[in-house]
């Protein structure tokens, strides 16, 4: 995979996600563009490359969604939950990618929903762990795992629905990423093809 292309697309996706949030929001439900990109990378890139890309996308998500720890005056961009969640999500994508038509935006949407469920479960689990009494970390202020799961389920539904146009766009741009055709074993441009 061409990392510079990935970096530019990830930046544009994050900027679009932040900039269009008020436009696309249904109440408090907003789509996650980075999750779509993660699944797209998971569908086409070699497993290790996809895993590193998922960690980077998770890091970007963590850095842009601060939490408010209990009894602490400032908020904190907690690095970790989304990194781990996206890592699990991309693993699920890699396991399932041989069973779907990767060229179909609908398949990308289904995988966004499935992989996203695992990713969100991990994120909620990690943030819930902060509330365990034997850990030194402060719990998240007003945290309710059940509320979060419901909210994130709705976010996933919305994201999956939005994946059809965005997945189509990403599939059109697929040649730029330099994935190996079919095998997912490496870059596809001629001078590095194995």
């Amino acid at each position: 995979m061409r990392w510079p292309v990935f970096g530019i697309v990830a930046y544009v996706w994050l900027f679009l996600e932040e900039g269009t949030r008020t436009l696309l929001a249904i109440g408090q439900i907003t789509p996650s563009f980075l999750l779509i990109l993660m699944v797209f990378i998971g569908l086409w890139a070699p497993p290790l490359t996809a895993a590193w890309a998922a960690i980077i996308l998770g890091l970007m998500t963590d850095l842009t969604t601060p939490i408010q720890p209990a009894n602490y005056p400032a908020d904190v961009a907690l690095i970790g939950p989304a990194c781990l969640g996206y890592l699990v999500g991309v693993y699920v994508t890699i396991q399932l990618r041989m069973m779907v038509f990767r060229d179909s935006p609908l398949a990308v949407g289904v995988l966004v929903f499935l992989a996203g469920m695992f990713a969100q479960l991990v994120i909620v689990a990690v943030l819930t762990m902060r509330g365990l009494p034997w850990l030194t970390a402060q719990p998240v202020q007003g945290w309710s795992a059940a509320d979060q799961l419901v909210h994130r389920f709705l976010v996933l539904l919305y994201t999956a629905a939005l994946t059809i146009p965005m997945g189509y766009l990403l599939l059109r741009l697929q040649w730029m990423f330099g994935f190996a055709p079919g095998t997912g074993k490496g870059p596809s441009y001629p001078h590095t093809r194995r």
Binding site: G80, T136, G142
Partner: protein, 297 residues
């Protein structure tokens, strides 16, 4: 031939383990780890968001709730006078500093107002935030009060060099003590102090009152909370939009819904109140509410 000690799989496992450890760190340490990358990313995104968010807001923006604060012309004229006086005061201060040359430091004892443009909104249900294009280099710090006109928006919860995060008043932690007062056009002298809780939808507040408490739809809820900085006291949290029977006690109690006058998610600009001294060093406030807002709505 021996395998290298650090290959990609092991590095990935180490990074994953590290992510788990960092995510369970106490807030102070986690903030140290994430501070610089967070501010760097926010500073990188700010110029692009600065262009896209106003465009998105212009396409879809809920209307502001109508509110009666008295004679609008008089209010605007007074606000303009405040701006002019502030400008004259700063000019006078400059002249004093130049002429005296004895004082090495000059501290403005009043309150400064700093305008900032909103570049992003985060819909995180447990901690909704705005990102603004001013940071610690502009004098912002954690705990400062953020308003928009006469409406209270929230407080600064994190200040990077060129951006800052504003925790909104509708965050879960907020159980605001508010004073319900009639709008300016209502001549009836009535007021009530109650505790308002954030609704689950995170876009309004609710509160319980007795059957006979003198509250009407359209009344304004002013902040009257001792846990907030004194500068925030008196700013409008919202307007009473609904009064209904309390579901748990329909005979004796009623339930109020207080909705912010402006949609906090769609704000394009805010004003930060910057006191001359750090927020902790502020003197105890008086009971008097700040009825006259200091900026234009």
């Amino acid at each position: 031939m021996r395998k290298p000690v650090l290959n990609q799989q092991r590095a990935l496992a180490v990074v994953a383990g590290l992510a788990l450890v960092i995510s369970l760190l106490p807030a102070r340490l986690a903030r140290l780890v994430s501070g610089y990358p967070r501010h760097l990313l926010a500073a990188t995104l700010a110029p692009a968001d600065h262009v896209l968010k106003p465009l998105a807001d212009s396409l879809r923006r809920p209307p502001d709730l109508p509110v009666d604060l008295g004679n609008r012309e008089e209010y605007e004229r007074a606000t303009q006078q405040i701006f002019e006086l502030q400008y004259k005061l700063s000019q006078a201060n400059q002249r004093i500093a130049e002429l005296s040359q004895i004082r090495n430091t000059f501290r403005l004892t009043g309150v400064g107002l700093l305008s900032a443009t909103v570049t992003a909104w985060s819909a995180n249900p447990s901690h909704p935030t705005l990102t603004v294009n001013r940071g610690s280099t502009h004098g912002l710090r954690t705990g400062l009060v953020v308003v928009r006109g006469f409406s209270l928006v929230g407080t600064i919860t994190d200040a990077g060099p060129v951006t800052a995060t504003v925790g909104l008043i509708t965050a879960t932690k907020n159980h605001l003590v508010v004073r319900i007062k009639p709008p300016a056009s209502d001549s009836q002298p009535r007021q009530l102090t109650i505790q308002a809780h954030t609704a689950k939808t995170r876009d309004c507040f609710w509160a319980s009152i007795g059957q006979d408490d003198p509250v009407q739809e359209g009344d304004l809820a002013h902040l009257n909370d001792d846990t907030w900085p004194p500068q925030a006291r008196g700013f409008v949290v919202g307007t009473v939009t609904k009064i209904e029977k309390h579901p748990d006690d329909p005979i004796l109690r009623r339930r109020l819904t207080i909705t912010p006058i402006r949609s906090l998610a769609h704000l394009d600009a805010v004003t930060v109140i910057v006191p001359a001294s750090p927020p902790d060093a502020d003197l105890p406030h008086s009971e008097t509410d700040q009825q006259i807002p200091t900026t234009r709505p």
